[in-house]
Symmetry: D2
Subunit: 159 residues, 4 copies
């Protein structure tokens, strides 16, 4: 209940969120920025997906294996994102993924893009926050497909 889920190689990164939240560090490269000098707004949506992919890996699931062996694909059904502060070139961001709710074929995530607060050491400021709903579909027919019970249990253990 109280520990944070994250990859082994992230030990030592700063604490940015509460329990049961997965955090992926992401470096901002030139490809992520636009002529306004900041990270292009749709890139945050990509960052969200990177964090969800690493979250699934962390709890034991490789998305390529699910697609090939279990014919299970997660497709995005809806997204929303509020932009609070801009991220810039070369920033080290911390992108979170937290499962809020899971149904038979749906998983609801809350996600944030954060950055270390230079003034308040060991804490984070939130640059953007959003919600993403993914639906599990059959990877060939593209029709909704019930989440296998094993995945459902893994997910419930981290809600």
């Amino acid at each position: 209940m109280t520990e944070q889920i994250r990859p082994n190689n992230l030990q030592g990164t700063i604490q940015c969120t509460s329990h049961k939240t997965f955090i992926l560090p992401i470096r901002v490269y030139y490809e992520d920025t636009d002529a306004g000098g900041v990270v292009y707004h749709s890139k945050y949506i990509n960052f969200f997906e990177r964090a969800r992919t690493e979250f699934m890996r962390q709890i034991g699931y490789e998305l390529d294996e699910l697609a090939e062996e279990d014919k299970l694909l997660f497709v995005v059904r809806s997204i929303s994102c509020d932009y609070l502060l801009p991220a810039k070139f070369n920033d080290e961001l911390f992108v979170s993924a937290e499962i809020i709710e899971a149904g038979k074929t749906r998983i609801h995530f809350e996600q944030k893009v954060m950055k270390a607060d230079d003034i308040q050491n060991q804490s984070c400021i939130t640059l953007a926050e959003g919600k993403v709903t993914v639906v599990s579909v059959d990877s060939e027919k593209f029709k909704p497909k019930r989440l296998p019970s094993q995945i459902m249990e893994s997910i419930k253990s981290v809600i």
Copy 2:
């Protein structure tokens, strides 16, 4: 009141929306797709921005000139998008932009990604629909900046 706003070179494209809505045709290239075989979900957010940019050009404003001459930049404050049906490689899409409301520093858009319906000729099916709020900011200080009255009038004429 009843005519559609669109660029001169789009004459002859099918009717996909009601009045006061700008429509930009966008071809799907490989760069827009992912290994799921469909258009990657964050790309719709890029398509939305292309349509907003062309909408502004259509009503008389070039965003690069606004940034340089008027120090006015539009930054995205929030987005949401529902994904209904997938777009595929080589599809010709029609991306709409409609201003729903405009405040002193904010413009609210409703936007859709559509595709010609092969069965019902002359009509469209909606693949995705979303809302985008942009804020006008000073292009140097990055602080909210009131929309110039001329732009406000142009916008009001198309709401």
Copy 3:
């Protein structure tokens, strides 16, 4: 021999190249730029592909139909690009595709990214130029596959 190949809806655009060269106008949006204020360098490679796709459409081939019906896919074998001058946000670019040589399974393109020269009316300046070699492969086995004779003839007619 002497006329230029281009889509019907581009009639009237300025002359930027010699005969047998296809030209696609491409508008630069924010998504294409980076924090240096210019178009991100790998985006030119995307622009090249858009122009090759439209070139193939112009001479009668839809790449999605070739993949599904003829199991024929074009994959990029090599690219090179020299960057001469930067393209900027909101620029209208003209991207060319010209077939230089075609073998049994290979097509060699020369491509340019150009822009109207504001000073010398009716002429263009070259911002980038590159070469791209694509290989025709079986869309399922991913092995080289001989170009169908009909495509080969179409290609030869535009070399």
Copy 4:
């Protein structure tokens, strides 16, 4: 002469190249792939830049600080890339950056995209290899600017 340059957090990754070569592990996400089921070809060019950025960080230089404090920007002058084997969704790639030569305002890199060879343990297969030339320019005037002697020395120590 004989040791490999890489970030501390990469300790333990497999050996993929000879001495003086920097290696950055990069995970392939859906955003990097296309409908052909493989990594989109221009994405390798982005991966190359990520590796060059991390290389510069490794030898002591943050590109955002160089741009702001030293008014020094590196712009890409030319690229070339040969595609040998496709990378796929979820692959863990190893992207190398090696400086081959450095002049007053130019740095020539050789770069590879590699992947662990499942059969031959501890070795790598090369998926793509390319060359990139960057030019140092004044970040405001966009004119070539001589590399500061300190950077030149750092670079010479890793050639």
